[in-house]
Assembly symmetry: C2
């Protein structure tokens, strides 16, 4: 989860402002915009990058679709996500895919502004956009099916196998990924349904997952989000202000080499459904949990002291001569400084889908990590984690997908146009 | 969905106020209460009974657990619910059940105040109670298992079969029901997990379902909630101010006759998972949908005119001589005036659990309806709906459960004590 939630990725700086002043033109039942002031809520969210503003304007907050980046990457994490992977229907060609991407882009832009996508079927009527975003990605299989192998970026290849993963192929991969995020579940549902119906005859749903994070305003002080283990998760995320942020998260010249110039400014996303073995985890006492992670459960501070923002002291040893942050503590094994500076923007969501046949919770993390090159991000980090992370005993990677998200598009164009029409 | 969300069912009148002024005593990581004012948000929720207040104090709003009624019945619908049905483990006796109900009640009260249930395992750390409620009910099978047949209320018997239902027994019924509701998904998850762990060795999860409704602040004007068909749903709900509200919703002397005096002040809840055939529904145009329901899709007004609050004119005929609100329109078939005044407090949630093997959405309504006597509420209405409701062609009842919720308890006692210890 992004801790300092970034936005403004579209260069407009408007994503937290209410953009709906004139949106009431949808006719009977059309949108009427509240006129609540924007100053309240600051006491609860003075530095968490948006939830304070979202708290008093949850419905009316709009995230622009058009821009140099797609929304939903550096956008502050909304309360809810629905991930939907699609496979092309047999016979769908490049033109059909292009037409779908145009419909999807146009509709995502309309929904993001809180406009009705069409005359009918508007279940989210009466609601504002509620920070709705739709983010589109392409899987490697799409390039094969559409005869676009020569434009496939070098980093878009099958992820290697990792020890102890138990992947469900039917819920992994896919020709296309659509990540819908928003602060209202009905708005998200409506967007998912609308986009699905636009795909009829062109692409069919391969898998679908729903996740949640904190509701804006739920936490009593600004905090990095917690996962279902109760751990603060995302403290180490890169910040948009970092000098090398763009280079680490968005595809640059090197990643756009060969026939992949269209991908420049896009990003790779790794999506993994990571089930948590919560019964085993919850049977550990808090010191044992903190030993596994390397951070305190209450504050998120490193076990070497300070607060959440304090740098971990990886060299410190206790009176017994042992490292305070254990050799296999999760934060040590995953830290960029021990992974050749490998960096990902983690923007994960929790999931809780009831329980499994054995009675254990079907719950965990929808790991969603954005990066400029998975060969220098996810892959080496996961290889290290799978070997040496104490947390590995408490999680199971159940699904996996790698997608390349094209750059954003300006108004009048659609996401992926440079790939599909070049 | 309750339209005018009622609360104050605990007689305290405090359920929408922030009760956490002194809750910061939980030690390291304990709760720190925001001091946001309460006046903002009114413009967006002037008459929807609480979402305005919740919008600016989403995390800090607390619903009292103790009182003459259990919370979660007339409480304004929170954004999220998790329903969990339990069966007693073999060998669990009355004393073991009583001990569980005491643990559950004490913990639900603590969680409702935003207090940590114990030293460990607090995943909702940093969050306020977020209007968390836990509501407990007993199924008929509990009375048999515990030798309490003589205290079983007369109305707690198996629901009759209805035409066209396709019930999944494994997700129906149960010895006990716990309805958790709250405005933050992580707070709900934490409560569900905490209650589940308290049940270990005594009761095991039989089924579990998750639902959602609007996030506070998502709608741009005060509105009754919409279901996944896009229809305003809950307009006809009884209001707490109605003269006969208590008599219609809560168990009175007649319902507490025989050995069931303990049930007085409780309520029956019917829980049905009603899948919507959304592909078929969405293929109808809006006039056809409005003909099925009898209300306009945009405003929720009866098709005979006015606004959402206007009484339907069931006798009006159009120029063609036909009834404007069709003979089989949903609002006509379900209206109390055509059902001997049968009344339920519907407090349903939408669900969306991906898609089914045939590719259709696994989505619909978690129908949750509270009433003083299902023999005069749900049963006759559903018998009529199953025969003559135009909406029936677009829904499938997949699960069913009937539970009796005991009355609320004062501090120091637990829900169900009068039954289990009498």
């Amino acid at each position: 989860m992004a801790k300092k939630k970034q936005d403004g990725e579209n260069g407009s700086g408007l994503s937290r402002r209410r953009l709906l002043g004139a949106a009431g033109a949808a006719g009977a039942g059309g949108l009427v915009v509240g006129a609540a002031g924007g100053a309240v809520g600051a006491s609860m969210a003075s530095d968490d990058g948006g939830s304070g503003a979202r708290l008093t304007s949850l419905g009316t907050t709009a995230v622009p679709f058009h821009g140099t980046r797609q929304p939903g990457i550096t956008t502050p994490a909304q309360a809810r996500t629905v991930l939907v992977a699609y496979d092309l229907e047999p016979g769908t060609d490049r033109a059909g895919t292009a037409a779908l991407m145009r419909r999807w882009s146009d509709t995502a832009a309309r929904l993001g502004r809180g406009e009705r996508p069409d005359a009918d079927g508007q279940v989210a009527l009466d609601a504002g956009p509620s920070s709705l975003t739709a983010t589109f990605g392409f899987g490697g299989s799409l390039f094969d099916k559409l005869g676009l192998a020569d434009r496939r970026p070098g980093a878009l290849k099958a992820l290697p196998s990792f020890p102890d993963e138990e992947l469900d192929a039917t819920r992994s991969d896919g020709d296309m990924l659509v990540q819908v995020c928003g602060d209202d579940a009905l708005v998200c549902f409506h967007a998912v349904r609308t986009l699905q119906r636009l795909a009829r005859g062109v692409a069919r749903v391969r898998w679908q997952m729903t996740g949640f994070t904190r509701s804006p305003g739920a936490t009593l002080r600004p905090m990095t989000h917690r996962n279902l283990m109760g751990q603060v998760d995302g403290t180490g995320n890169p910040q948009t202000g970092d000098a090398d942020f763009d280079a680490k998260i968005f595809i640059g010249d090197e990643g756009a080499a060969g026939g992949a110039a269209w991908a420049r400014g896009g990003s790779y996303v790794v999506v993994r459904r990571i089930r948590m073995l919560l019964d085993a985890w919850d049977d550990l006492d808090v010191p044992a949990q903190e030993h596994v992670i390397g951070r305190r459960k209450d504050t998120g501070a490193p076990v070497t002291g300070g607060d959440e923002r304090t740098e971990p002291d990886y060299g410190r040893r206790g009176p017994d001569g042992r490292l305070v942050i254990a050799e296999n503590a999760h934060i040590r094994v995953s830290a960029p400084e021990f992974n050749r500076d490998a960096t990902m923007l983690r923007r994960g969501y929790s999931y809780h889908d009831g329980f499994r046949p054995d009675g254990t919770p079907d719950a965990g993390l929808l790991f969603i990590a954005w990066q400029a090159d998975p060969r220098q991000g996810f892959v080496p980090v996961q290889q290290k984690l799978a070997r040496g992370d104490a947390l590995s005993a408490f999680v199971r990677h159940e699904t996996s997908g790698l997608f390349v998200a094209p750059p954003g598009c300006p108004e009048g164009r659609y996401v992926g146009q440079e790939l599909l029409e070049a």
